[in-house]
Amino acid sequence: MVAEKLLSVEGLSVHYITEGGTARVLDHVGFSIRHGEIMGLVGESGCGKTSLARAILGVLPGNAEVVSGKILFKGSDLLRLAPSEAEESIRGRAISFVPQDPFTSFSPLFSIGEQIRTLMRWKSPDRKPGEKVYGSGRRKRDRERVMAMLQAVQLPDPEGLLKKYPHEVSGGQRQRLMIAMALLPEPRLVIADEPTTALDVTIQAQILKLLKRLITETGASVLFTTHDLGAAWEICDRITVMYAGQEAETAPVQSFFDRPAHPYTKKLLDSLPTENSPLIGIPGRVPSLLNPPAGCRFHPRCTSSTEICHHKQPDVTEMGYEHAVRCHHPIMGGGQ
C-alpha cells in the first residue's frame, strides 16, 4: 500500500546563526509523509525535530537560514512560496498545528469563543481567497461547523464552553480544543508537536485515541513529533528517528521497534525501562551542533564504529521493506 506522497522534504539544511557560531540544526534531511498516514518524528532534545516541523510550517526563528533543499507539498516548494500565498492558503489552512503546551497557547485575555471565531474568520474552509468581510451567512455556517467539531472532540457543554476563558478549563479539555481548532480549517496535514507531553497518562490515552479516530475520519495526514516512544507506538504508521540534525532511520512502526537497524535506535530502545531487561543508557552526550563531529554524527557514542565512521558521513541506504537507515554498519537482521 505505497500511497502517494503528500509532503516530501529533500536535502533540507537549516542553520541557526548564533553568537557562538553557526549551528547546523538540520543537515541534508530527507523525509516524507503520505496521504492519510500518521508519521512519527522521534528523537531526544535538540535533535532537530521541532526545527523540521517549524520549517514545514514556515515559522523558523529569525536567525535561521535555509541553506539548501526543498519542501514539496502537493507538488509545490513551500520554501519558494510567496509569503502572502503561504499565509493565505497553507499555514493554518492546508497545514495546521497542534502545539505542545495547551496552557500557554491560548490568549488569556479573550474567551475561547472569540478565539475560535477569529480562527474561522481567516482560516475557515468556507472563506474565499482574499475575502476580508466576515458576512452573516459565513458566520452562521462556521458556527455550525464549530459546534459539530466540539461535539466530535467530546467536549461537554459546547455552548457554555465558548463563553469561558482558557484558564477556566482543564489541561485535557484545552488540548481537545487545540485539536478541534487544528481540524476546523479541514487541513491536509496536521503538525502535532508533542501534543500529549504536558498531560497525565490517562488523559494522554484519551487524547491519542481521539486524535487517531479523527484523523482516520477526516483522511488528513499527521506529522507527530514526540520524545515519547510509547506514544509513537500508539498511533504512528511510520517513524523517523532523528539524531543531531539528521534522520538516522525510517521504518514502519512494527519493524522500527522489532528490528531497528541503526545502532542509535537500538540503544534508544534499550534505554526504555521494561520489565525484564536491564536498563542501558547511552554514555556521552548529544554533540554540539555548532561543531558536530566529522563523519557519522553518532560515531563518538557508537559501539560498532570503525575507521570509516570517523571521516565519512554515511548515506541513506534501503534495508528492507520501506526501511531506510543512515549508517555504515547497520545491525544485521535489522529492517528485514
Binding site: E44, S45, T202, K209, D258, L272, I282
Partner: protein
C-alpha cells in the same frame, strides 16, 4: 514487616484553606486526607498518581516543608512532629528531599562546589579540609569529575544537574531520600543512566527511597513496593509485581491500562476510562473514584471504602476489588 520500619506515616492530613475574595475561609483543599505508609530500611517505595493527587504534597509534608494539619510521622521510631526544633533539625539530616528540577533548585549564582558544601556547613562541625574531602567523595560517587566543582549550574547538562541534585542530598549521609520525579524532563538515554546511578547509590550508601513519579514504567523498574494515589488518598498498595500483574482497584487498572507498552496491544484501541479527575476542592462524597468508575454501585456513592487486604500485603480501598 514491622521490624525495620524507618519511616512510619500515620493518617497524614494536609488541608489547605480555600478563601473567598474577602479572605474568609470557605472550605478546604484536602491535598492529603488520611495517608498512611511505612518505609522499610533499604527499600524503594514508589508513589504514583496523576497531577493533583497529592503525591508531591505527601513528600513535602513528610520532609517538613508543610506542617501537616493532622496525623503523625515517625522517623526511626521517634515522632518528628513532637520534637523541639533542635532535635527535629538533627533528625531531619537523615531524611532528605531531592527536588524535582535541580536546574531551578540550585542557586544559579553559586558554584556547584559551594552548593554541595553548604549542608555540611549548616549541619556539621567538619573542618574545611574534611568538608572538601566529603564533597570529592560524593561527587565521585555520582560519577562527575572534580572540575565540575567550579562550574555554575547553567554550564552543565540536565542529566548532570540531576546528579548534582542527588549529590547534594547525599552530603549529610541520609538513611531515607524522598525523590520527587527524579527523571522528569530527561531524555530516555539519560534517564536510564540516572536510574542506574540511583540503584548503585542505594547499595553503596544503604538508602531507602520514597520515589514520587507519574512515570509508571520507571516506578515499575525500580520500586519494591508501590502506592497508588487518587485525590489525596492511597487507593491501592502492594508489592510492585503484584500490583502490576493483578491490580485490584479500578483506578489502578485504568492507570496501568493507559500507559503505552511498546510491542503490546495498543492502549488507544481499548482504553475505557472517561472524564478527568475532579478538582481537589470538590471531592465526591463516599468513594472518590465512583463518578468515573464503571463498577460503581449504590454503596460506592454512600460509603467511603477503606484500605483493606486483598492478597498477600496487597491492599485496596474499593468495595468491589478485582
Amino acid at each position: 514487616m514491622n521490624e525495620d520500619v524507618i519511616l512510619n506515616v500515620h493518617q497524614l492530613q494536609q488541608y489547605f484553606p480555600v478563601r473567598n475574595e474577602w479572605g474568609l475561609r470557605t472550605g478546604s483543599l484536602k491535598a492529603l486526607d488520611g495517608v498512611s505508609l511505612q518505609l522499610v530500611s533499604g527499600e524503594v517505595l514508589g508513589v504514583v498518581g496523576e497531577s493533583g493527587c497529592g503525591k508531591s504534597t505527601l513528600g513535602k509534608t513528610i520532609v517538613g516543608i508543610h506542617r501537616p494539619t493532622g496525623g503523625s510521622i515517625e522517623f526511626d521510631g521517634r515522632p518528628i512532629l513532637a520534637l523541639d526544633r533542635k532535635q527535629e533539625k538533627a533528625l531531619r539530616t537523615r531524611l532528605q528531599y531531592c527536588y524535582q528540577d535541580p536546574g531551578a533548585s540550585l542557586d544559579p549564582r553559586w558554584t556547584i562546589g559551594r552548593s554541595l558544601e553548604e549542608p555540611l556547613i549548616i549541619h556539621t562541625n567538619l573542618s574545611k579540609a574534611e568538608r572538601l574531602e566529603r564533597v570529592h567523595d560524593v561527587l565521585d560517587a555520582v560519577g562527575l569529575p572534580k572540575a565540575h566543582l567550579d562550574l555554575y549550574p547553567h554550564e552543565i547538562s540536565g542529566g548532570q544537574q540531576r546528579r548534582i541534585g542527588i549529590a547534594r542530598v547525599l552530603m549529610l549521609r541520609p538513611n531515607v531520600i524522598i525523590l520527587d520525579e527524579p527523571t522528569s524532563g530527561l531524555d530516555v538515554s539519560v534517564q536510564a543512566t540516572v536510574l542506574n546511578l540511583l540503584a548503585d547509590l542505594r547499595k553503596a550508601y544503604d538508602l531507602a527511597y520514597l520515589m514520587i513519579s507519574h512515570d509508571l514504567a520507571v516506578v515499575r523498574k525500580v520500586s519494591d513496593r508501590i502506592a497508588v494515589m487518587y485525590l489525596g488518598r492511597i487507593v491501592e498498595t502492594g508489592k510492585t509485581d503484584d500490583v502490576f500483574s493483578h491490580p485490584a482497584h479500578p483506578y489502578t487498572q485504568s492507570l496501568l491500562a493507559s500507559a503505552p507498552r511498546i510491542g503490546k496491544e495498543r492502549v488507544t484501541d481499548h482504553f475505557w476510562l472517561e472524564g478527568e479527575p475532579p478538582k481537589p476542592t470538590d471531592i465526591p462524597v463516599a468513594c472518590r473514584f465512583a463518578p468515573r468508575c464503571p463498577k460503581a454501585q449504590d454503596i460506592c456513592r454512600k460509603q467511603d471504602p477503606v484500605l483493606r487486604p486483598i492478597f498477600d500485603h496487597q491492599e485496596a480501598a474499593c468495595h468491589f476489588p478485582a
